[in-house]
């Protein structure tokens, strides 16, 4: 079977490829290559420039005047380390993200298992309800949570507690989607095998299913941490003033007031944290599923032997 892509001659030298580019730069894949790489550069370079200006030696965020770490810790007043509002915002962001992970992950994992195994009449509407936070604009969620915390559940009020409750509300669905994907790919055979060997549902769950779900649970915790750190709208609507401001809220108000490169610096720190947590989750996933992938590779090899 030959595919369209394979009809092009294989193993062309770099030279002939280059001369092909000169002769016809608008050939279909070439035009697509150009657009794709231009898009990637456009989507990433502005962020890199923002990171660059976090290391600027002067107060400007648009004219480069030499490298310094002044905005991270050097400046005794305005650096991320010394400016109490920035440091406080970072602490608040981390507090919300940690609480969010601790609450949303267990609830979401249970909901995912429940929705995947529950066959009753309530399963479909519950599933529907779980998907709703994905399609609801954040401003609608922000308005509704603010109103409910200030007029109905008045014992909560606006502030850190409200922010945590709000973050958990939009995070649960992410956990469910990630864990359920893994549940579907595992299938039910392991649990059924455990049941055949006499395990009760609870034992099958704790001894068989949960270990198999570990990579998805770790990944969803990291994703929740990342989306909570990056959230702006819900944190802003449920904030009760200066001391509950998170880093995104600081960035938002700073871009509209007189901004300093320290804003770029704290944004860079948070970006690195987000990317690190996701990279760790990805590594954890690879490590946890290594045996499976090896087994699968072995399986196909066995089958190949069988076919011969």
């Amino acid at each position: 079977m030959t595919t369209i892509a394979e009809q092009r001659p294989r193993g062309i030298s770099t030279w002939s490829r280059a001369s092909g580019w000169v002769r016809n730069p608008w050939g279909r894949p070439r035009f697509l290559v150009l657009i794709t790489w231009a898009y990637i550069v456009w989507s990433i370079v502005p962020v890199l420039i923002a990171v660059q200006f976090s290391f600027n030696a002067t107060r400007s965020r648009s004219v480069w005047q030499g490298f310094s770490t002044r905005w991270y810790w050097g400046d005794p007043v305005d650096s991320v380390w010394h400016d109490p509002t920035l440091r406080h915002a970072a602490v608040q962001s981390l507090k919300l993200a940690s609480a969010d992970v601790l609450i949303a992950t267990p609830i979401g994992v249970l909901l995912a298992i429940g929705l995947a195994r529950w066959m009753g009449w309530g399963a479909r509407p519950s599933n529907f309800l779980m998907l709703f936070p994905f399609v609801t604009p954040e401003i609608v969620m922000g308005v509704s949570l603010l109103l409910v915390f200030t007029h109905v559940f008045t014992f909560v009020g606006a502030g850190t507690d409200a922010q945590i409750l709000g973050h958990v509300t939009f995070s649960i669905s992410y956990v469910v989607v990630i864990v359920r994907g893994r549940l579907f790919s595992i299938g039910r055979q392991y649990e059924e095998a455990a049941a055949d060997l006499g395990a009760s549902p609870t034992v099958a769950l704790t001894r068989v299913l949960l270990p198999l779900l570990t990579p998805a649970i770790v990944a969803s915790a990291a994703v929740v941490f990342a989306i909570s750190l990056d959230d702006f709208v819900i944190s802003q609507w449920l904030s009760s003033g200066g001391e509950t401001d998170t880093v995104p809220i600081r960035i938002y108000s700073a871009t509209r007031a007189a901004p300093l490169p320290s804003v770029n610096a704290i944004a860079t720190v948070m970006m690195v944290l987000t990317l690190l947590s996701l990279a760790l989750a990805f590594l954890a996933w690879r490590v946890f599923t290594r045996e499976e992938r090896r087994a699968r590779a072995g399986q196909t090899k066995d089958l190949a032997v069988f076919e011969l």
């Binding site: 369209i4 892509a5 279909r28 894949p29 697509l32 290559v33 657009i35 794709t36 898009y39 990637i40 989507s43 502005p46 962020v47 420039i49 923002a50 965020r61 648009s62 609830i107 249970l110 909901l111 298992i113 429940g114 529950w118 066959m119 519950s126 309800l129 779980m130 709703f132 936070p133 609801t136 604009p137 954040e138 401003i139 609608v140 969620m141 308005v143 509704s144 949570l145 109103l147 409910v148 007029h151 509300t169 649960i172 549902p201 990342a226 750190l229 990056d230 702006f232 709208v233 995104p248 960035i251 938002y252 509209r256 901004p259 770029n264 944004a267 948070m270 970006m271 987000t274 990317l275």
Partner: protein, 297 residues
């Protein structure tokens, strides 16, 4: 009995959470929008029973949405911005997704990581990046004056609609490319070969096979970015911050955070949510029809 209640029991905490903190709050918005305002404290008083709803405020809000009202301009502007951003996103995003799905080759994983990367960089950080670039003495102005495209620096951040549209495209396009890629990647290559074998030119193969088969991805991605764009208020605030570029989300923001009149704010939120529900229903209906057509074939 134990087995029967085991799985619903697992789902219970999550469902309760979503009912108490997602469904009830949304109903609270409706109750405030159809409620009254305390004349002394000027605080909104929600009315929970639909039988006692006060329609006065919502009628007032609807009046302002009509041509000549204060919300008419922002609504038209919102639709304009969202429509042009969506068109630009598709124009840029479709070729990119197509290239990675069809011609990615060995670079495929790398390209996918680079496409996903912006999703994991905070939206505010990415907007901040453009605020730096578009400043009066920023790189964009310096490049444009250096190449003599502009004779003097332009105030990109002073209320330019094009800046807002650019920021929206920049902010939301990664969310469109992924579903597009997934849809294009799913297309069975044998369909394309069949078209080519039957004598279709590359262009007509694309128009009659690839494009229709990727329709669900286009629609899904479009919905995924359109819904949050309609509720956006921070993007125009960050890159422009003037009333000339104010969107409907900014009106909601204003009535809660500016001069607080939550009843009117809740009214706009209800109107916006209804409008988005209609959009969503149209999308579900198209998807339903498409899957029925596939089943019929």
């Amino acid at each position: 009995m134990y087995r029967r209640w085991l799985w619903p029991g697992f789902a219970l905490p999550g469902i309760l959470w979503l009912v108490v903190l997602f469904v009830v709050p949304f109903y609270a918005v409706v109750a405030v929008a159809f409620g009254t305002v305390d004349p002394i404290l000027s605080q909104p008083v929600p009315i929970w029973s639909p039988l006692q709803w006060n329609v006065g405020w919502i009628v007032e809000v609807l009046h302002r949405f009509a041509p000549g009202g204060t919300f008419f301009g922002p609504s038209v502007r919102t639709v304009e911005y969202v429509a042009s951003s969506l068109a630009l996103c598709l124009l840029i995003g479709y070729p990119v997704a197509y290239y990675i799905a069809r011609h990615g080759g060995r670079m495929r994983s790398l390209l996918l990581v680079l496409i996903i990367l912006p999703l994991w960089i905070s939206y505010l950080m990415r907007m901040l990046a453009w605020v730096n670039l578009l400043a009066t003495d920023g790189y964009v102005n310096r490049f444009l004056t250096f190449t003599h495209v502009l004779s003097q620096p332009r105030e990109w951040l002073g209320g330019e609609p094009s800046t807002v549209v650019l920021a929206l495209v920049y902010g939301y396009i990664p969310y469109l490319i992924l579903p597009l890629f997934a849809a294009l990647d799913r297309i069975d290559r044998s369909h394309l070969e069949a078209a080519r074998d039957l004598g279709a030119s590359p262009l007509s193969t694309f128009l009659h096979v690839t494009l229709p088969l990727s329709k669900t991805g286009i629609l899904g991605g479009a919905v995924l970015i359109t819904l949050p764009m309609f509720g956006d208020y921070y993007t125009p605030n960050i890159v422009s911050g003037t009333p000339q570029t104010s969107m409907i989300g900014n009106q909601i923001d204003l009535f809660f955070h500016g001069g607080p009149q939550p009843t009117i704010g809740a009214g706009i939120t209800v109107v916006l949510a209804l409008f988005l529900t209609v959009l969503m229903a149209y999308y579900m209906w198209t998807i339903h029809r498409a899957s029925r057509d596939v089943a019929a074939v």
